[in-house]
Symmetry: D2
């Protein structure tokens, strides 16, 4: 039984609390948050204790911590938790600063405890089935990857100002998906972006619609499309053309009802947003973490993966500004 | 080159005239109709002559006739044309009277010329692909067949009064489809029907919605559903469960556009009616007839097939009235 | 908080234990089973006690019992539990004997406690969305209902001998679905059946493939297709033709991956069987029961619904033997 | 009746000959080709005469010519035909040289006869329905366009050497589709390409896989993906995200059969290549030309459209070499 401390008590922390509690091999022991009431609520709901973060990190009975706090605390908490001997699952991104994340890598390597980064989409049943089919050679050699990732509605401009921008808070998932599926980092990153959905996002220095093209050393190409607004729901699709076929992971729909009328043939919308779409992925992600810790095996998503995606976000941010491709090796990665 | 006379100049005759003319191995020579203007119009449009039926049947230069006149003339014209030495493609049904159709069978057998009945759906690309997959053993042994066949809108009550009713004018296509796919005639026919779409159809002695269950000597079962009204378009689907899988032929849609909005995910409607859906089938049907005549091979759909479907329509008509299953052998077939 | 006793500790009882425990408004207090080890295992897994059935029924602290024992005990336990003042959710069918189920109805009416029958499919997200669209008038007046319900593989013959047969153990769900969607009981039931999947099922006096046609007083028609074997997975579909359109609830697939190769365009199979397909339905079913008990409102599926479906199963069993339709009023319902 | 001369007798000329002949308002009068046998064959098949090009251009009874010769002759023939007073439909591209095409524009303007360029995909039922839905405001304001266009198999390297390369012979259709749907020319063109399908294509100086990103003055973005090889068939899809929804035009499949087995749920492949997919588009394209000539209305696709797409191909060719975006205004367009 893995005893777990949860750092953070926001919405995503609640999702993780459910996953921890429903897993027969892990127990939620304690929750901390700067908002004590929020921590108390989760603790009560799952038979855990509300504590402060130090108390959690210093408790030798706690084997692992799940970090679901604000992004600016991730690197510090990863370092402190691993120093305290805990296994760590940390929400993405590792940090907004590539340099800080790289420093964290070094500390973690020294501390010698495993760290997993929460790229939950790798555990989505459809994306993982696509990856399995790819690895089984079902479409031969992959050549051209396309990732479509649209949110249902743009976030408040206030969020955009602190999130690190679209490439670091949103497309970072897609960068990791590209790395996961292409099994390699790209050589160059070329981005175009616009604030066509909400000009205030542009005024805040960010984009809300972007297309990023990645090129690989062996000639493969990937393209990622992001939009902050798809009014019909959360649009999360992947397609990969290979030498012997095409693999697509399509959207989950709310249900399977189809209505045919004089207006056409209408099915349900895609599931609304990430909580609806990715709940099974969060559960599977946690199970994979528990299995890796208990089995002493390698983390299925590593801190290196987190840094690699962050470097791509940094490159895309620079490319959209300069209007030219950015080589990843120019960022020291 | 097959020289062809066309008997009839209504809407379906026009479809056949196009198929005859566009086929490189057949030429439309002459057209007859009790409505001379209609015959003249088709003749002009396709470089043929308007003649009367006798002149067509007596012309030794005409190899084949296509009968697309009203149903009550089919048996007579089949007999006269084969007596005159013509190969014949006749629209369904052979006759409204099973006894008359059976008499026609005898005359045709004596005349020794090939007769094909126009069950065009056998030549639809999807239904013929389904049949090919079945024959290739792709779902093992067939066990349970379902046919859905809905018209977009009910016909005028005046038509219903002379058409022989839903089972003879509409479901007869589905009876033939069952015979085509099951490769056997059923043992018994059990029908329920209602005039829920248009009570005037009920007042005229017919039904507009019906479900017919067919049982086979070897234990297989088929079910056919008909409705005179599907406001979303022509609904023509088949599915067949076998020991190793399921085959479905789904509807043709008007186009492949899909629109996702807050209202859901909407595709195009099915093609509107039989002219839109089955135009490729009419072309392929004619080509199969030409090939059979030119090659001296067996007709792909025979007069016997026409009589078999008619017998099932007769049985269904009796069953819906008696409320009990009707054995086909009780009809002398 | 609703304190719950679980009677039975088999596979489906485990499903219910999960639903009870994960619902924030109910607590699993005790479990009983003739197999003490099975009861102990569930009790341990969910923090409950293993007790015998009498102890559960006599415990005034237990508000409700969920009956998931073998079918032959259902009526007795429903009567005893309601006599003991418990609210009851009982798995289907109420009984194999229509007369016994009707007697149970009278006892329950006298005991005055609410009883819900576990027709879980009403709570499936797709079927409930279809029902909501129907009730909202989205396809006008319903006219023709089709239910397809195929299991992935036939049960052991030993099961068939005690289950009451296909109509009582399998199609009973579809009878209830018809009642749910048509909002009325049919007038007559006409069934054909065959043991084409497994002749030993036929030797045991049952069928493994069946088509049942239902007619309604107002002219509507329903048709239900069952097969014990669909090798591609659990096939659970409904379609309903109305005066203004068609509603279909299609299968849930294992994932959304689509692979295009020279062999065609291939998607995932339907979810394997009822546990995979209907887990969300079991959770929603339990939530509906808790809401009804806590709110003092009518049960969403009643004992009367259970008896109505059982009567249809009885009628179908008679019809498949006699080869003639059976009127429900001939069964005294 | 429009009397038509056909210049060229290759495969695509045969497609056009069928469209001309089956259109009730046009007649194929004469065919020319440097390969006299090929011209003779088409002429015979459609009741036309084999002539040389001069004879066709000088015949005052010929109203229009359809140019389906090799690309290097297009500009000259457009100029000569319009000088001879003919209306012209010319296959794409106008020329491989942007400068030559621009010179042709000037000559045509002086000659004053209408010229249509054969961007047949605008007349595809699905793409034209998507455009109609867009123009009807069904997804609000367009923001992000994606075009997927994969051929089933790469052409011979010999073809690539004379075709002008992927951007001029293949993606030029997609450039026109972008112009058609976005209703504006882009500001900049950014291309990446690789010869991952066939290294010999790379050795010949071309790419076989490419992604092109287009940016527009108002902030919109388009991305085009091309591959010379999709083993599953001709993959021709468009999707357009707008402020109020998403429009997608999906592939045409060979038929509607779906097979469910233990291997999954398999549908038919996309139609094989452009002749199968776009035959209805060629027919509609010709009808639109005839309507425009007869009605004296503007050509639905103009020579300017042809030059605009060619400029984008030129820009993409430069971008893929330089590794940087190319502004269209830098090309003098």
């Amino acid at each position: 039984m893995l005893n777990v401390g949860l750092l953070g008590a926001g919405r995503i922390a609640g999702v993780h609390a459910t996953a921890i509690s429903s897993n027969p091999e892990s127990t939620l022991v304690a929750v901390s948050d700067i908002n004590a009431a929020a921590a108390e609520k989760i603790a009560t709901g799952y038979g855990a204790q509300m504590r402060d973060t130090d108390a959690i990190l210093n408790d030798p009975a706690i084997d692992a911590v799940l970090i679901a706090t604000s992004t600016d605390t991730h690197s510090d908490l990863i370092e402190r938790a691993t120093a305290a001997g805990k296994s760590v699952l940390c929400e993405k991104p590792v940090d907004l600063s590539l340099a800080r994340a790289q420093a964290c890598q070094k500390v973690v390597a020294a501390n010698g405890k495993p760290v997993m980064i929460g790229f939950n989409r790798r555990f989505d049943p459809s994306f993982s089935a696509l990856k399995a089919a790819l690895d089984a050679g079902e479409i031969g050699k992959p050549e051209l990857l396309s990732i479509t990732s649209f949110d249902p509605a743009p976030p408040p401009v206030a969020y955009v100002k602190v999130s690190g921008g679209l490439f670091r808070d949103m497309m970072i998932h897609d960068f990791d998906m590209a790395n996961f599926l292409m099994n390699a980092a790209p050589v160059s990153v070329s981005a175009v972006g616009t604030s066509i959905v909400d000009p205030e996002i542009g005024a805040a220095g960010d984009v809300d619609t972007a297309v990023v093209t990645l090129t690989y050393a062996d000639g493969r190409i990937a393209v990622i499309k992001n939009s902050r607004r798809a009014v019909y729901g959360y649009d999360q699709r992947v397609e990969l053309l290979g030498s012997e076929g095409l693999l697509q992971a399509q959207n989950m729909l709310e249900n399977t009802v189809v209505k045919s009328t004089t207006a056409g043939v209408t099915g349900a919308r895609p599931t609304f947003f990430f909580l609806e779409r990715y709940m099974p992925a969060y559960t599977a992600e946690w199970a994979a973490f528990v299995d890796a810790v208990n089995g002493g095996s390698a983390m299925p998503v590593t801190l290196d993966d987190g840094v690699a995606a962050l470097a791509m976000a940094e490159a895309a941010t620079r490319s959209v500004k300069s209007g030219a491709p950015v080589r990843l090796d120019s960022l020291g990665v």
